[in-house]
Structure formats: structure tokens, C-alpha cells
Symmetry: C2
């Protein structure tokens, strides 16, 4: 078409990138189509060159990783005390969420949970004594993720705590998680008052043996099937677990009756689970952990195996580089705050629960859970948009976990660090919000994007790994 012709015909615009340009055209009445595009995040040109050159190898490796992830068969096989089953667990070792951190850099709620843990273990009598002990260097700290475990919020696991044992039947590896305490003033949100400690003791002395016998009675519980059903019932199994908790409860109740002679213990355990719609979270997390752990260390794979926050740092691991952490600053979530609290009270993003998003659930599956916006804010169409966007940065669609309202499309699964950086689209995460001071507890729930920094570092780390390895 000659230039002269072009100017006679009606001009139509394809706008790439900033939507504000299209808005201006819309206002002027000019026909325009919006194409979503952003420049990549700023990583080194060398890294981009290496990764561009190795795209085929990365794709192949990611295919292998996703095959392993999608073939995972997570199931509860029992409960035990942390010290008896968690690899490397020791009497003077407390685990925590997120990447490694020292007492000096720990946020308020994580310090609070450590102090509560010391009182619970009988290693300190008062919060002041506990703080002194924690500072002294006698107590060791390590990430849950480095011990096949995951923990919500502060994620503190102490040696005596009972934990769920979740096995990935396909590959034989296991993951561990404590039992969920409920909402509000609880250890994982940094509270450590006498009621918190008393509840932990009841969980150890009543809840744990009752559940242990019930699971023994059942043999195992197929969690993949249970989560698939829960997604059809409005859960995303991170911030909404009402269906997962209900379905688990239905399985457990008859087994509890058959295996616990003491009716008042049996009733108390069922009432405890019934009172806490988040009870299932501490199973959806080790489900994703054991499924993703099986895909660690696949040469050239850019698939994310860990996203975790300790309330100070946000850490990422990718398959190719195994246990290496890529770390950036954790952000403060946008949230619906409980009455009397605001963003000024909030700790930075905290907890291993982003393992659900890493496994194609949580924020990635939020379109299955329109009712969740009442808990985290927003309108129900936001939920559809968030999930739709996550397909842009994932390596596969889930074969079992579905979004009914998207005509049963599989959830976006397997975060590809290369796509995150090159498309400049960040993973979307549902989360609870802790008070920034120790001893207070939960102040809200909300949503946020992961920070870009750890993903840029992971991208650079992948490039280094690719450059150094023979392919």
C-alpha cells in the first residue's frame, strides 16, 4: 500500500505495552487493539544471550521437570514428632520459613514464634528468658525447606511438635508440616502468650495421638484427589481451605470414632478441626513441597521449586541449581486488615505457604475460588484475571487440578523463571498478614506479587549454570 493510500484509509492502531496509550486512543475514538507486552526485567545482556542460546535445552529440561511434578502422588501416611522423622532435626534446632536468617535479621513475628517455641519446649520460662536464649547462639536456626519441611507464616518447627508425614508415592520422597493451630493469636503469627502454649500442648497431647490413630486406621489419605475436589468447591487451598478441611474431616471422623475410645477426646478433636477452616493448609503445603522436591536438580531446568519468605527476605530456588537460594527483600502485602489494624502494623510477607503457588495452587488457582475475595479483597473478576495471567509464566497446565469456571482448564503450574524475567510478569501470591511486632498475631489477609529481585538473580544463576555446564 502506498503511503498516500495509507493516509486515506482509516488508521487502526495496534498498541503494544503501556495500556495508557490505548486509553488515549479510545477517548479520541480511534480503533485500537491492546497487546500485552512489557520490556523484560533488567538482567545482564550476557545472561540473556546465554539463555537465548540454550532455549532448546531449557525447554527440554523443563518438560522433564513438569513430567515429574505432574506425576507426583502426594498422600498422608501418618503423623510423628518432628525430631523422630524430619531429616537432620536436633534438640537445639528450630526450623523456620523462608531462606536462611539470623536472629539479628529476623522480623518480629518470627522472633515471637521462636520465643514461644522455646517456652513450649521448656527451654525457657518467660518471654525475656526465651529472647536471651535465642540470642545466645545456643539455639540453631535453619529453613524448613532445607529439611524437607514447610511451615506457614513464621513456620517454626521445634523438636517436640507433631507433624504430618506426606509421601510422594511416585518418587518415594517425603515432606513434613506441623498441625494448623487456627487463626488469630497463634504461634505461627508470632504470638506466644499462655493460651498459645496451652493450645500447642493440647495439640501434642490430644490432637496428635487421635489423628495418628485415625490415619493409621485409614492407611493413607489421597491428597491429590482431595485437592482436585476442593478446587471444584471454591478453594485455592492457600487462603481458602474450607472445602479441603471439610473433605478431610469427612474422611477422618469415622476413623477417629473407631480408633479413639475416649468420646470426649474424639469430639474435642472434631470440634477443633471444625472451628478452623484453615486446618487443611498444613496439608496442601507439604503436598506441593513433596511434589516439587522430586523435581530438584534437573540440569538446565528453569522451573521454580521453592518460593518462600521469612518476613525479611523472599527466597527462590530453581530446579537446575538445586538448593541454592536467590534472595531479595520481602514486600508488605496489600490486605484486608482486621478491625483496629492497618498496613502500618503489618510485617513483611512471611511463610513457606507460597509453595502452593509454586505448585500451581493458591494465587495461581484463585479463579477456582471467587468467594476468596471476601477474605483478601477485590472483586470476583480479579480472580479470573490473576489466574489467566499466571499461564504466561508457567511451564505447563495441571493435569488434575482444574478451574471449573474456565471450563475445567488445568491450573497454571510450574513457574518458569525465564518467562517471569523476560515477560516481566511476577508470580501472584495469596497470603496471611502478621503483626510486625512479636506477640500479637494475625492482623489480616491479602494478595501480592512476588518481588522481581530474586527472580532476576535466579535468571542470572541459571545463565551461569548453563554457561558452565556442558550440554
Amino acid at each position: 500500500m502506498a503511503v498516500k493510500e495509507l493516509f486515506k484509509s482509516q488508521v487502526k492502531v495496534v498498541n503494544i505495552g503501556l495500556e495508557s496509550f490505548k486509553n488515549a486512543l479510545d477517548e479520541a475514538g480511534a480503533p485500537a487493539v491492546q497487546v500485552q507486552w512489557k520490556p523484560p526485567a533488567d538482567v545482564s545482556p550476557q545472561a540473556m544471550r546465554v539463555i537465548a542460546a540454550k532455549k532448546a535445552q531449557i525447554e527440554k529440561a523443563n518438560k522433564k521437570a513438569m513430567d515429574i511434578i505432574l506425576r507426583g502422588m502426594p498422600r498422608v501416611i501418618g503423623l510423628a514428632r518432628a525430631i523422630d522423622v524430619i531429616p537432620g532435626m536436633k534438640k537445639n534446632l528450630f526450623l523456620h520459613s523462608g531462606p536462611p536468617i539470623t536472629w539479628a535479621r529476623m522480623c518480629g513475628p518470627m522472633r515471637g514464634a521462636m520465643m514461644g517455641g522455646l517456652i513450649y519446649e521448656g527451654m525457657a520460662k518467660t518471654p525475656a528468658e526465651a529472647e536471651k536464649y535465642a540470642k545466645s547462639g545456643k539455639l540453631k536456626f535453619a529453613p524448613c525447606h532445607e529439611h524437607c519441611a514447610v511451615g506457614p507464616m513464621a513456620g517454626v518447627v521445634t523438636p517436640s511438635m507433631p507433624v504430618w508425614i506426606v509421601e510422594n508415592k511416585t518418587f518415594g520422597n517425603k515432606a513434613y508440616c506441623t498441625l494448623n493451630e487456627g487463626l488469630g493469636k497463634v504461634l505461627r503469627y508470632g504470638a506466644y502468650g499462655p493460651d498459645v502454649i496451652e493450645r500447642l500442648r493440647w495439640m501434642e497431647n490430644v490432637l496428635y495421638p487421635v489423628l495418628q490413630r485415625a490415619v493409621k486406621q485409614l492407611g493413607f489419605i489421597d491428597l491429590k484427589n482431595l485437592i482436585a475436589q476442593a478446587l471444584h468447591m471454591g478453594d485455592e487451598v492457600h487462603n481458602r481451605n474450607r472445602a479441603g478441611t471439610s473433605l478431610l474431616y469427612r474422611l477422618l471422623a469415622p476413623a477417629i470414632i473407631k480408633s479413639t475410645a475416649n468420646a470426649s477426646d474424639a469430639a474435642a478433636v472434631l470440634e477443633f478441626i471444625h472451628s478452623n477452616d484453615h486446618f487443611f493448609l498444613n496439608l496442601s503445603m507439604p503436598v506441593c513441597k513433596c511434589v516439587l522436591d522430586a523435581a530438584r536438580g534437573i540440569k538446565n531446568s528453569s522451573v521454580c521449586t521453592v518460593m518462600a519468605r521469612n518476613g525479611t527476605d523472599f527466597g527462590v530456588q530453581i530446579s537446575a541449581t538445586g538448593g541454592k537460594w536467590y534472595v531479595g527483600e520481602a514486600l508488605v502485602p496489600d490486605a484486608l486488615y482486621f478491625p483496629g489494624f492497618s498496613k502500618a502494623d503489618a510485617a513483611r510477607d512471611i511463610g513457606d505457604s507460597a509453595i502452593t503457588e509454586t505448585g500451581g495452587l493458591g494465587g495461581f488457582a484463585i479463579a477456582a475460588s471467587p468467594a476468596i475475595v471476601q477474605f483478601v479483597g477485590g472483586v470476583s473478576s480479579d480472580a479470573l484475571r490473576y489466574t489467566s495471567t499466571m499461564y504466561e509464566i508457567t511451564a505447563a497446565e495441571n493435569n488434575v487440578y482444574q478451574i471449573p469456571s474456565m471450563n475445567f482448564r488445568g491450573t497454571p503450574t510450574g513457574i518458569d523463571v525465564v518467562k517471569v524475567v523476560e515477560k516481566n510478569i511476577l508470580p501472584f501470591i495469596d497470603t496471611g498478614v502478621a503483626h510486625k511486632e512479636p506477640g500479637v498475631g494475625q492482623v489480616g489477609a491479602g494478595v501480592l506479587n512476588a518481588p522481581m529481585d530474586p527472580f532476576k538473580k535466579a535468571y542470572e544463576g541459571l545463565a551461569k549454570h548453563l554457561a558452565s555446564s556442558r550440554s
Copy 2:
């Protein structure tokens, strides 16, 4: 604009009615907008004139009816034997679904259920004996709806059967419904084999006393709240009751443990409920029944208080004319059939369960339940479309029951017979499908529109009522 000018400018079409005209324009590339419109159903011009003249009175009466319906507070207050609580229940009276019917006109599954009922009551020993007895005239038949009761499918209620007692706390009236037997070969689908009778006896001897004690222990169960939650969890509480059943189960389990000393009975009851995701249907039905019954007999109101089918006829009642039935032929549903069965095996539409649609649930709330299409056929976007259309023929939006994916819009509630006829849009109903022969049981589940005939008759009946009453 001069005619000359008109032909120079681009012609744009507003197409009203048949969408096929617009499709042709679309193919030709002509801009066209579709407006949904159909001519009214063919009712008498006199009736249309009367109703047009009394629109203001009808509106006012419907407002009153909807206020009563939306203020209903349904709750389980106990269980009892049918003969001890259902008004007018007698030893030689069996209730059934839908409008009144004789043995001669009864469909196969209803006859089968009556025969099973006679064997269960010890009034006959064999199916042949039961058939003879049923034909003899010694056994009386009456619609559940005429005895403050509702029954799914054949809806047979015999004197010894245990029933839920659901009270509308706001207005004090009650509704009754039997306990759900499960799917497949069950009495309500017309099966009457020894396994069916044995299950009914177990329900009477074990399930009933256990549930009776548990409800006594709880005092009451707030069903309005429970259904509101279930809609947030993917139920429409007619053909999908997995969430409702789960939430009810969570409430019942601790109460059962506390009130039933025999652990094996307690476990058996919980396993029975756990095995049947439709268990809650027999509560969602009397919920709607007691809520709608409170709005009977409001002068001038065109709000539908009953839609019910007996497998032969489809009956409608409207508020203005109280207990008067408007009846037409029941249709055969489109369905997903179980392996080995087809539409040729299906009975006509049957059951009082359309009381859920009459109460703004079921097919009217199907957009809350995208996963249901796996049970009834179709794609998930159909569910949104069905619910959206039902707003066209309803008098109000529910104040408590919401569709999360439609940004928590209240479900379309209160079918207005005037709108049904004048817009020519039929109520949409989810349903189970029974085999047309007695003794077989369920063969599928599906969806269908109500027939227009009873609504036209109700419209004419309303016109007559309006013409004869002073306003």
C-alpha cells in the same frame, strides 16, 4: 434525517427476536446488535387485558410475597416419624411428589416406590401383593405438597418413615422431608428390591435415632446460613450438594459422638452420610418449602409457590390462588445417562425437588456451581447463561444466597408467572432421571425447562382471580 441521507450513511441494525437474523447480518459484515425478545406465550387476550390493567396491584402483592420469602429463616429443629408430625398423615395414606394423581396414571418409578413403601410398612410381602394392594383402593394417595412436605423423585412418604422437621422461624410454619437414601437403586427412583427395603429399615432403626439425638444435642441447625456457604462452595443444592452435605456433616459429627454411646452406630451413620453427597438435598428441599409456604394466599400475587412433578404431570401453584394446581404434561429431561442407559429408558420429569428452583436455588443458582456440568452435561459457561436468564422471570434477587462469580449477586428468586408467560421464558430446572419402569432406579441426571402449559394456566387462573376480586 432525510431518507436520502439515511441511505448514504452506514446502516446499523438492531435485531429483536430470532438470533438467526443477526447471524446472517454478521456473516454479511453488517453491524448489528441483538436484543432478546420473544412474543408472549399464547394466552387469552382477555387474560392479558386483565393482567395489564392490574399490573400495579400485582407488583405490590409480589413485593409483599418476596418480603415474606426473603425473611424466611429455615432451620432443622428435629426428626420424627411421618405419622407423628405430618399434618393429616394416616396409616393408609402414602404421600407422593407433584400434583395429585391416581394409581392408573402413575408413572413406573412412582408405582415402584409405592410398592416398596407397602413392603417396607409390612402391608405387603411381595411386589405382586403390593401392586394388588395399591390398585385395590384401600391405600390412599396425596401430594406431599398438600401436607407441608416435599419428596425428591417419586417422593413417597409412608407413615413409619423418619422425617426431618424444618421450621421457618420467622413465621412458625414447618416443612417435612424423608432422609436421603443415596444414589442408584433406591426407593425414590422406583426401586423396591430387598436391598432397598433393608436400607430403609436401617435408616429407621439406626440413622434416625442417631440423627434425632444429635439434633437434640445441637438444639437446631441454621440452614439458611449453611446454604449461603454451600453456594460459595460450588453447590446449587439441587443436583450438587457436596458442600452442603460436608458442612452439615461437620456440625453433626461431634454431636453424634456426644449423644451416641455405641461407637459402631456413630461411625456407620457418619460413613453413610459421607458416602452420599446428595444427603443434604432432603434439607434444601424442605428449606424452600417452608420459606415459600409462608407466602401462600397473598391476594393478587403472581409469585410461584410450587413447581412439582409426579412423572406424569407438571404442577404449578401461585400465591394468589393458594393450593390450586395448574397442571400440564411433564417432559423427559436431557441428561447425562449412566452407562447402558439412554433417553429411551427415562421416565418423565419427576419430583418435588423443583421447589429449590422455586426458591431461587437449584437451576436458578447454577452459576454458583460450574462443576455441576460434569454431572448434568454442558460447559461451564452454560451455567452462567442459565442463571442470568432466570433474572428475567423472577420477582427479586436473594438477600442471602449469592453467586460468587457474578460478584456476589443474589440468586434470581421468586418466579413471576406473569413474566414467564409475557417474556415466554421458562424456568430452568436441574434434575435426576429415573428409569421409566418400576424397580430399576436412577439412570442419569440432567437439566430441562419447565413446560409452558401449567404457567399459561396459572396466568389465566390469576387473571380470573384478579377479575373476580375487588382491589
